[in-house]
Amino acid sequence: MKALVWHGTADIRCDTVPDPRIEDGRDAIIKVTACAICGSDLHLYDHFMPGMKSGDIMGHETMGEVVEVGRDNTALKVGDRIVVPFTITCGQCDQCRRGNFSVCERSNRNRKLAETAFGHTTAGLFGYTHLTGGYPGGQAEYLRVPFADATHIKVPHGVSDETLLFLSDILPTGWQGAVQCDIQPEDTVAIWGCGPVGQMAIRSAILLGAKRVIAIDRVPERLAMARAGGAETIDFSQDNVVSRLNDMTGGKGPEKCIDSVGLEAHATGSLDSMYDRVKQAMMLETDRAHVLREMIYVCRPAGVLSVPGVYGGLLDKIPFGAMMNKGLTLRTGQTHVNRWTGDLLRRIEEGQIDPSFVITHTVGLEDGPAMYRTFRDKQDGCIKVVIKP
């Protein structure tokens, strides 16, 4: 089959690779009908995330039709239409039973690596680093879904792929980012990053009843899409974010702050960003913490910081004194996808939201490698790429 394969920094190719086969009784194989490129894939493309190997198949936002089912899997049958959550979940361990699917204790087959890096294992993820199992991803014609009897979202026929696909990741990720804020009707929610995750977080915050949503980015068309979803916007290449946010909130600061940027935060000429870049180049620091620093500094005391943006390793110069003295609450995590998807699927079917608004490009697999660069460099108005193998 054809698949998008990682070969090194900024080197993804459309290769011919062996078809996946059932390896365990709980597995299923799907024929991929649609998949997408995610901001998390960019961390692999730019090789900020450790633990990639040449030959790894990319992709963790996938949906398709079940074409083969393992003999112990009674939950699925051939012909079922499923969206595949990016977190692989066993459904039975202590964490899965609590709904903490992204920290499933069993699905990471490289548990030892993760324990060394993070202290404990986290869930296996599709098309991601070997720290999270190194499972082949879904930017391919076929995908093997391990633990498929628990790792799936059954979706009805008759609704388009485009409307359902993002149940795999960005919709529940934006949703959890907002839910982590426990939004109150009087709240101002500030959201850093207007990529696909930020866009979903904006819509979620509105649906959950935030009084005001303020979104921050520098890409004009992303800011325009944020405004379409009900956000006021700040262009961080034009304005000082902290003083703008203080101005807009009468000096009080936003009650809730969401980081949907992550470890590749961009900063225009600020001192801390130069520092981060030099340390990163010398391999003394892995992640750039510019957004976290701004959030801690500007958040209203007793407020909440929600961090769906991905970090991989070590951060430096975190104003933890401000964090502690202001009594801020910090909530983070890879998304517990299945915890939210039942409810979100209902909201899609009832017409509360149609997440396909974010799609700007649709291509075939062979154009995937070029689209990685277009998406990373924000060229051609690109916000979200869907691939139809």
Binding site: G230, D354, H361, T374
Partner: protein, 196 residues
């Protein structure tokens, strides 16, 4: 389900090379730095003789160490731009040093001129590279894409605010009780953990 919002058409790919030429040039300059640096470290005497600047061996070796370090940084970093700027600075130092050799009695004036021409050439390449890398990072001109119609909602935003208020935030995702808004001595949620 029907599409509820008007939609600017979804586009296919625009053909673009997978690697930028400037990034490739940067890598070339990185390897050049390492090569030149090693020569300066290993054979400072021969180099100094060729350009008629005897007695500068230690300085040339220090420059060599600088070249090697910059070269490695260029090859290892995700964004070589600051290190190419470092090379431009280094080029200026090199030229200043070479300039001290232009005296009438320098028997190797030809070698010196050759070396100067080479450094000038490399400086131009460094400057072009830094400008190219910076231009690559610049965003495309705004305003070509109109996403003002892409709300994702079936009705105007204000009609959608709070539509998911039926959602019960799970207990483990709620703000810690002590941090909930506190009005007239009781949490706004109405639940009280207060001593009477």
């Amino acid at each position: 389900m029907s599409q509820t919002h008007a939609r600017t058409p979804v586009r296919g790919p625009t053909p673009r090379p997978a690697h930028s030429g400037h990034a490739r040039l940067a890598r070339g300059l990185g390897w050049f730095s390492i090569g030149l640096g090693l020569a300066e470290l290993i054979a400072p005497r021969a180099l100094c003789r060729a350009i008629g600047l005897p007695g500068r061996e230690t300085l040339v070796q220090a420059y060599g160490a600088r070249e090697v370090a910059t070269g490695i940084a260029i090859l290892a970093s995700h964004d070589p731009t600051p290190w190419i700027w470092g090379r431009v600075g280094g080029d200026a130092l090199d030229l200043a040093t070479l300039a001290t050799g232009y005296e009438h009695d320098n028997p190797r004036i030809g070698g010196l001129a050759l070396a100067t021409a080479a450094v000038v050439g490399v400086t131009l390449a460094d400057v072009a590279c830094v400008q190219g890398l910076t231009a690559d990072k610049r965003l495309p001109p705004p305003g070509r894409f109109d996403y003002a119609d892409r709300s994702g909602f079936p009705r105007p935003v204000d009609a959608m605010r709070g539509q998911a208020a039926d959602f019960a935030v799970p207990a483990d995702f709620r703000i810690p009780e002590p941090l909930r808004p506190w009005t007239s001595g009781a949490p706004a949620s109405g639940r009280s953990g207060v001593p009477a």
